[in-house]
Each structure stands twice: as structure tokens, then as C-alpha cells.
């Protein structure tokens, strides 16, 4: 034990130092790291082989063994076929690896790749470790076998635990999975549809048949959708597969949706995400082993040395967490975070496959949000501007002002004279026009007639206003109205400024007209301001004008009514007077 512990520290240290963040890449890296770190690859091998815990103790033992790779190999071989590959010297393990598990080759390759990432780590060890882990996993059912071999090394212990390691979801991994799940489906209790999950897992670049197999394993209720536990299982399997672990034929117990890790601590997502990724891919086998060993070590020798290992191991092996849930989680988390910087590259590589879905979803969400936020549709200007026939665009008004100025002027003058104080219509050509129309005619027909003039009038007004504003150049155009317009124009300058504030300021049509013109002028001059605003203002003005006009009309009609009433009374009285005469 002591030796193991001693060995563990060694390994842990190496692991801690070299291992990149638990990210997918990290897993393999860890393995690699362990190996390089530990002078004895055997250490790593034993770990890998089967028992994380066992392996840990072995490191020290392994070291010497490493010196004698053959020895270790033998031991391992005796241990179990799967083990032997791992035990054999780094070179040999790879050979062994490939041979017991054809599928492992993939892992080996990945491991190799990972190895490359890990500086100074013999790639081989990793490969070996991964295959060995893998084999260990396979061998999980054969604790005896593993035990036999591991006797020499603490691996035995590790074997037992180790066998589950690759298939255990560590805290960090779980955190990562949770984040990924959330990226696909915010509600953790809801299901991820099959197509969604398919797209997501396809990004992991695993072959479709393997993904199909993973799906079959993880979708235990066969409903074509993944619950959160099922998703974790599937993700974990994918990570394992990417790290070189062969896919199991049946779902390991630790991966069943009902399985609950004791002492699973929720690691901060930020930390967990990265480590998990790396972890899952590579570390799974190694992590388990290391964790197993480290677990023991940690428990015994937490401080310092184990810290690193603990981190990795703990992140890797949630299983051990039960043993030392509180500490491991903390430590691994810390380590993970530290590891992350080490293996950002690896993480990136692995994470890309994983983060892509996340980023994809996130970006899509961002885009969606942006899209939602983007449309600041201003009110439809044309409608507002053209709510009234008279309310023409200032431009048009100005253009037509010249043409219609004359006739409009006349009409305007007539109207203006007739018009009672313009109903508080701000300098809006339409409003003023309406005013002018109504006061002058009080009749729809007149209005109709005036409507066209109204338009002209507005133009005229605008023109005048613009002229007033622009320098009164257009005043000449409207001689008859010039007076009024001028007056109004005088108002206009004011009006534009307070277009909406002075509906009553315009007692007469001219004033209203001028306000309109002024308003229009102001509008025109104030074009730079949002057109929407103008349109709104124009619409408001028009409404006000209409109101004013109608009010005036109403008052006029009332007056007429009174007049008529008086006449009636007069006539009646006359009649009465005449009646007696007639009667007599």
C-alpha cells in the first residue's frame, strides 16, 4: 500500500502535471501523462489494466517493474489477456491492444493523437493505457483474472474498481453533459428528440453504425428520444468511444439511467465542461485507473501530490467520489481547471466536436434573439403620411406647391377667410387643409371640392411654409395668400417648432394653413429626424385637423339650427296672428 501510495504520488504528480484538462483529449492525455510522468510505464499500465485503485499503488511498484517491462508484462499477461497488452512495455501494449480489441485500434489512434498532444508523454503508454483500460473494462466481469495479475500490483484493487471506471460518469463529465443537454433542451426533465440527438451526436464524427449502437444502448425505453440520463449515457459512450474504448454489447450498470453516483457533486460547469470533454475521450480508461489508484492515494495522501491526481482521477471517476466525495470533487475540479489550460488544445480538438453542438445551439439562439430584437419596425410611414388625402409628403407638397399654389391659394384664401380659427391643427398641411375646407364649405360637397384644393392648398401651404422657412421665396407664388400665408408663415416658423403644441394657435385657416405649411416645412426641414416620427406627427395632425373641422362644422350647424328655429317661431307666431283673422 505504501509502495502504491508512493507510486501514486509519483503518478499523480505526473498526471497532474501533464494531464491536460479533463476534456476529451485530456483523458488520453492523462493516460499518456501518467505514463511519461511515471518513470515506469508499468505504473500506468497497471492502472490502465484494470484497477484504478490498484494501479495507483502500483506505480511505485511498477516503476521497478518498468525497469523490467518484461516482468511487468508477464505479470500482466498472467493477469489477463487484456491486461497483458497494457502491461507490456509501451510498445507492446499497443500491439496487444490492437489484438484483443480490434475496435481499440481506433482508440489507439486517438490515443496516439492525444499522446502527441501531451508533451513528452510517451504516446504508447497512453495507447496502452487506453486499450488496457478498455480491456480492463471488458475484463470487469473477470475480476479474478484481473486480480491475479494485479496482485503484483495494486492493480487488483484497481481492477475491480477500474472495470467500472471507463463507464462511470464523473462529476465533471456530468456537468458537461448537463450543459450539453441544456443546449439542446433547456428543460432537464424533458426529452431530446431523436433527430435532434442524431444531429448532435453526428457531430462527434463517429461512424453511423457506432452511433446507432450507442443509441440502442442508451435509449433504454426505446421511445426514440433521450431523457437526461439516457443522454448522459449516450454522451459518455461516445466519449469513451472516441477515447478508444470499444463499445460494450450491453449497457454497463454504471451507465444505466437509474444509476446514481453517490456523492456526485456538481462541479462548476465552467470547470467541468472542459475537463469532461477531454476526459471522456481519453481519460475514461486512464481516468478510471488513475482515479482508482489516486483514490486510494488521495485518501491516504491527499495533500499535494494527490491533489493533482485526485483532480484528474476524481474528475474521471465519479465512482470514487463515494469514497471521498467531498474532497475529490473539489480537488478534481480545481485540477480540472488547472488542467484545462494545459490541454486547451486537446480540449479544443475534442471539444469542437462537442462544443459545436453547444455553440451551434447557442449561436442559433443568439441569432434568434438578435433577430427578435432587430426589427424595430417604424410605423408604416406611407399610411400615416397618406392617411389623409391632403397629407402628402412634404416633398410632393413642395413639388406641387408651385403648381397648385395658385388655385390652392385662391381656395385657401377663400377658405382661410371663412375658416374659423383652425382647430388646433399643428402646421400640418393636411390638417390645415381640412380646416380650410370645412370652414369654408361646411358641406361635404364643398369639402370634396375642396379636397383637391386641399391638397393643393397643403402644397401651397407647404410651399409657403417652406418658402417662409427657406426664405419666403415661394411667397410670391401665393400672392393672395401671401398675406395670410405670411402671417401664417410667421406663425409657421413658430408652428413648426411647436407643431403639435399649437393647434389652437391657428385661429384662421391661414393660420392653420400656415401652421400646416410651417409644419410641413418643419417637417421637411426636419426630415433628418426619423421619418417615422414625422409620419406619426402628421397623422396626429391630420386627426386633430379632422376633429377641429368637425367641431367647427358642428358649431356652424348648431347656429343654423338656431336660426332656423327662430324663423320657425316667427312664422308660427305670424300664423297665429293670421288665424284669428282668417277664422273671423
Amino acid at each position: 500500500m505504501a509502495a502504491a501510495q508512493a507510486g501514486l504520488p509519483v503518478r499523480l504528480e505526473s498526471v497532474a502535471g501533464e494531464l491536460p484538462l479533463p476534456v476529451f483529449v485530456g483523458i488520453t492525455n492523462e493516460l499518456e501523462m501518467r505514463y511519461p510522468n511515471h518513470p515506469s510505464t508499468n505504473e500506468s499500465q497497471p492502472h490502465i489494466l484494470g484497477s484504478l485503485t490498484g494501479s495507483a499503488p502500483h506505480p511505485p511498484a511498477d516503476r521497478p517493474v518498468l525497469r523490467h517491462p518484461d516482468t511487468s508484462m508477464d505479470k500482466q499477461e498472467a493477469w489477463s489477456p487484456p491486461r497483458s497488452p497494457g502491461i507490456s512495455p509501451p510498445c507492446s501494449p499497443s500491439a496487444y491492444r490492437s489484438y484483443p480489441y480490434g475496435a481499440q485500434r481506433n482508440g489507439t489512434d486517438t490515443l496516439l493523437a492525444y499522446d502527441g498532444k501531451v508533451p513528452g508523454r510517451p504516446s504508447v503508454p497512453q495507447e496502452n493505457s487506453s486499450p488496457s483500460h478498455y480491456s480492463l473494462k471488458l475484463q470487469s466481469e473477470q475480476p479474478v483474472i484481473t486480480r491475479g495479475a494485479s496482485v503484483e500490483r495494486l492493480v487488483e484493487r484497481a481492477e475491480i474498481d477500474y472495470s467500472d471506471e471507463p463507464w462511470r460518469i464523473t462529476e465533471e463529465q456530468r456537468e458537461y453533459y448537463t450543459n450539453q443537454f441544456r443546449s439542446l433542451q433547456p428543460d432537464l426533465n424533458a426529452l431530446i428528440m431523436g433527430t435532434v440527438a442524431k444531429n448532435f451526436f453526428t457531430k462527434s464524427k463517429l461512424p453511423i453504425p457506432e452511433l446507432s449502437h450507442i443509441w440502442e444502448l442508451s435509449d433504454v425505453d426505446k421511445d426514440g428520444a433521450l431523457t437526461f440520463p439516457e443522454f448522459c449515457t449516450a454522451f459518455h459512450l461516445i466519449v469513451a468511444r472516441k477515447n478508444g474504448y470499444p463499445l460494450p454489447e450491453t449497457l454497463p450498470a454504471t451507465l444505466r439511467p437509474g444509476f446514481v453516483e453517490p456523492g456526485v457533486v456538481t462541479v462548476p460547469p465552467s470547470e467541468a465542461t472542459e475537463p469532461l470533454i477531454v476526459f471522456d475521450d481519453n481519460m475514461m480508461p486512464g481516468a478510471n485507473q488513475l482515479e482508482m489508484g489516486s483514490v486510494d492515494l488521495q485518501m491516504t495522501s491527499r495533500p499535494g501530490v494527490t491533489a493533482k491526481q485526485d483532480r484528474r482521477e476524481e474528475s474521471r471517476k465519479p465512482e470514487f467520489s463515494p469514497k471521498r466525495i467531498p474532497d475529490p470533487h473539489e480537488k478534481p475540479i480545481q485540477r480540472v481547471s488547472t488542467l484545462k489550460p494545459d490541454s486547451p488544445q486537446e480540449l479544443d480538438a475534442n471539444m469542437k466536436s462537442r462544443t459545436r453542438p453547444r455553440s451551434y445551439s447557442s449561436t442559433s439562439m443568439d441569432d434568434a434573439m438578435k433577430k427578435v430584437e432587430e426589427p424595430p419596425t417604424p410605423p408604416p410611414r406611407p399610411q400615416k403620411t397618406h392617411s389623409r388625402a391632403s397629407s402628402l409628403d412634404l416633398n410632393k407638397l413642395f413639388q406641387q406647391s408651385g403648381q397648385g399654389s395658385r388655385p390652392s391659394q385662391h381656395s385657401l384664401s377663400a377658405k382661410s377667410g371663412w375658416l374659423p380659427p383652425p382647430p388646433a391643427l399643428p402646421p400640418r398641411p393636411p390638417a390645415t387643409q381640412i380646416f380650410s375646407f370645412l370652414p369654408s364649405s361646411e358641406k361635404s360637397s364643398q369639402k370634396a371640392v375642396q379636397q383637391p384644393n386641399f391638397a393643393d392648398f397643403s402644397k401651397f401651404r407647404e410651399e409657403q411654409e417652406s418658402s417662409v422657412r427657406g426664405g419666403l421665396s415661394t411667397e410670391d407664388l401665393v400672392p393672395p395668400k401671401s398675406d395670410s400665408t405670411l402671417r401664417h408663415q410667421g406663425h409657421a416658423p413658430q408652428k413648426p417648432v411647436r407643431r403639435k403644441l399649437h393647434p389652437e394657435s391657428q385661429s384662421a385657416t391661414p393660420p392653420s394653413a400656415t401652421p400646416y405649411s410651417a409644419a410641413t416645412l418643419t417637417k421637411s426641414t426636419q426630415r433628418p429626424p426619423p421619418k417615422q416620427k414625422r409620419e406619426i406627427q402628421m397623422a396626429i395632425r391630420k386627426n386633430r385637423e379632422t376633429n377641429a373641422v368637425l367641431t367647427r362644422l358642428n358649431s356652424e350647424l348648431q347656429q343654423q339650427l338656431k336660426v332656423v328655429h327662430r324663423e320657425r317661431v316667427t312664422l308660427e307666431s305670424q300664423l297665429e296672428l293670421l288665424r284669428p283673422v282668417a277664422s273671423t
Binding site: 453511423i208 446507432s212 443509441w215 440502442e216 426505446k222
Partner: protein
């Protein structure tokens, strides 16, 4: 004995034979039995499409073996060929076999990575079918 699953277009999605020798004969038998299946479903499906029995029963007996048919609502056909000498297989057992087949097939369909029309490569499905065949034969 053989189990064959055919898509609606009558191309095989899955074929499994026990023993593995002499497969060709089984294949031929299955192929010819497809005509019988078609005949059965086309006749019944006219007016009683929704009430059509999925289990078609014994399609036709030959001197060596019996052929049973089963069709799903999506026109995927299951054909089981068993030795005539195997008299222990009763109709109920055949029905249960088809039921199991159908359930397993549904599970395969649920897998989003499976495109309908692809050969079935699911290992779980394979294992279920193998178990079933071993029991039957």
C-alpha cells in the same frame, strides 16, 4: 430455419438463417413467398385495410418446410421459414415470434441513426433474432 425482413419494396432488410449452409434455398423460398404475401395483403386490404390481420399465417407448406408470413402496417414483411420436421412449433409460438420480431423492429426504427430502408445492422436486434431462432430450431 430462416427469418427474413423485407421492406415494402420487397428488398430484404435483414436475413438470418440457421443453419448457415444452404442459405440459398431459404432465400429462394422467401423470395417466392413474397408473392403469396402480396396476394394476401392486396386482397384483404381493399376494404378492410385497418382490420387486416398482421399475422398472415402459413403462407404455403412445401415438402421440407413451412413458410409463415407477417406484414406490418407500413408494408414491411416478415417471413419465417421453418423446417417441416419441426412439428413442435405451434401457431401461437409463431405468432409470438412475429410479435417479438415486430417489437425489435420497432426499436430499431426508433433509433434516429437508422434510415428506413437501410439494412438492419443493429447488434441488439441481431441478438434477439438469434436467440429466437435458437429457441425455435
Amino acid at each position: 430455419a430462416e427469418i427474413c425482413i423485407t421492406s415494402m419494396d420487397n428488398y430484404p432488410l435483414y436475413i438470418r438463417s440457421i443453419p448457415t449452409q444452404g442459405e440459398l434455398k431459404f432465400h429462394y423460398t422467401v423470395h417466392t413467398s413474397l408473392d403469396v404475401v402480396e396476394e394476401k395483403i392486396s386482397g384483404v386490404g381493399k376494404a378492410l385495410a385497418d382490420q387486416r390481420e398482421l399475422y398472415l399465417g402459413l403462407l404455403y407448406p412445401t415438402e421440407d418446410y413451412k413458410v409463415y408470413g407477417y406484414v406490418t402496417n407500413s408494408k414491411v414483411k416478415f417471413v419465417i421459414v421453418v423446417d417441416s420436421s419441426n412439428t413442435s412449433l405451434r401457431d401461437n409460438e409463431i405468432r409470438s415470434m412475429f410479435r417479438k420480431l415486430h417489437n425489435s423492429f420497432t426499436d430499431v426504427m426508433c433509433n434516429p441513426f437508422y434510415n428506413p430502408g437501410d439494412p438492419i445492422q443493429s447488434k441488439a436486434f441481431d441478438s434477439i433474432v438469434s436467440t429466437m431462432m435458437v429457441q425455435a430450431c
